[in-house]
Symmetry: C2
Subunit: 232 residues, 2 copies
């Protein structure tokens, strides 16, 4: 079993890297900043998208790719905000991959899009291993999940550029120690940023929005194709 | 890629079923009731174990197998309660499987054990596909994760005999509708039980403990070997 399984897994990861690079080239040509948004189920990915879209609408062109096992409820929530949202159903699969993003891109009109956010399947393990072609990985951790999660799921916290500690409105009712989260996250990824937010109250959103706007400006500037053409 | 990957996955699942059956036979011979405990990261699996051990200690012999990517902090928490706990590190793997349980069993003294609880890796997707030889699958959902989780991760809620809706002490501070969770869970698995609990306050534990004690009695009665011998 082991002799067969190991090379196959390696091939899958290599094939994925190739597709992710193709996606990245396409994003860079179009000058679109792309985020791969990951977390446990229910940490607040879709709520973050809703609040972020509300705050940036009109100033930044946004599109969303939603990854879920089967349902389309998240894409419907996002479409209500008036932005393009494409739903990928993995049919039970535990993470998105580069190929799924390529297929989803064929259903998105990238004209006028500055920011593409890909909401991965809710899973703190598998999505960390599959690049999608994104520029930055953003992880959300809800304080209700507890402060031991970075120690227990280290890869996810090692690879993310930004860690959003969400649901800080619940802090008075939990035993979660945010200083401990910050400490372990810094140990795993010294260059990573940590923002404390509440998608429920809107608290702490300013630094997160500022970070996105800076990144969008940077990627617009580095656009390698004429605006909005598709050179793929 | 697909032509190679599909048969390999099928072989893995078949090989796992064979190992799970061997584990089950061993549990039945020893008359031990075995639970496969699953949830998202941070839903409260280890806290549930701590409270359950406190309540049943002295009356029921308990052992625990802890599944984690790398750390041993959960097994250490359980050992402090004075019961045997063996830590499996999956080295990044997203679920436990029958083979890992077989290896862990070689490190457990089953003498006097009536109840074995296997705490799976925190993941609402992959563990649902791998039987370990357990008698019952128990899933924990924290109300902080939201009431849409059964719709979004249906397999996990379809296969569990018991759904524990945990952290009900947080209900006043969230938008979670437990009636909606119950409704979707019942639709996915009409025979499944749902218990509302708080591992923090201890609220709602009586029906859960009663369910375990009934099951332990039943399995003790059906023991096929002489008590505590290892016929494997």
């Amino acid at each position: 079993m082991a002799e067969i399984a190991v090379p196959v897994v390696r091939n899958i990861l290599q094939a994925n890297e190739r597709l992710a690079s193709e996606n990245r080239r396409r994003f860079d040509e179009a000058g679109i900043f792309v985020i791969n948004l990951m977390s446990s189920p229910g940490a607040g990915k879709t709520s973050l998208l809703e609040k972020t879209i509300d705050a940036l609408a009109g100033r930044i062109g946004i599109a969303v790719i939603e990854g879920d096992l089967q349902s389309s409820c998240d894409a419907e929530r996002i479409q209500k905000k008036g932005v393009q949202a494409v739903q990928i159903n993995t049919d039970g699969g535990c993470h998105l991959d580069g190929n799924m993003i390529q297929i989803a891109l064929s259903a998105i009109d990238l004209t006028g899009v500055d920011l593409l956010i890909i909401e991965n399947v809710g899973n703190l393990v598998c999505p960390a291993e599959f690049n999608l072609g994104e520029h930055e990985k953003v992880t959300i951790l809800s304080v209700a999940e507890g402060d031991d999660k970075p120690v227990k799921y280290p890869l996810m916290f090692q690879i993310c550029s930004v860690l959003l500690v969400n649901k800080i409105d619940l802090l008075p009712y939990t035993d979660c120690d945010v200083a401990k989260i910050r400490q372990t996250a810094k140990h795993l990824n010294p260059a990573g940023k940590v923002f404390e937010i509440s998608c429920r109250t809107g608290e702490g959103f300013a630094p997160w929005l500022y970070w996105i706007e800076e990144k969008v400006r940077e990627h617009r500037k580095n656009r390698t194709s004429s605006p909005h053409s598709d050179k793929r």
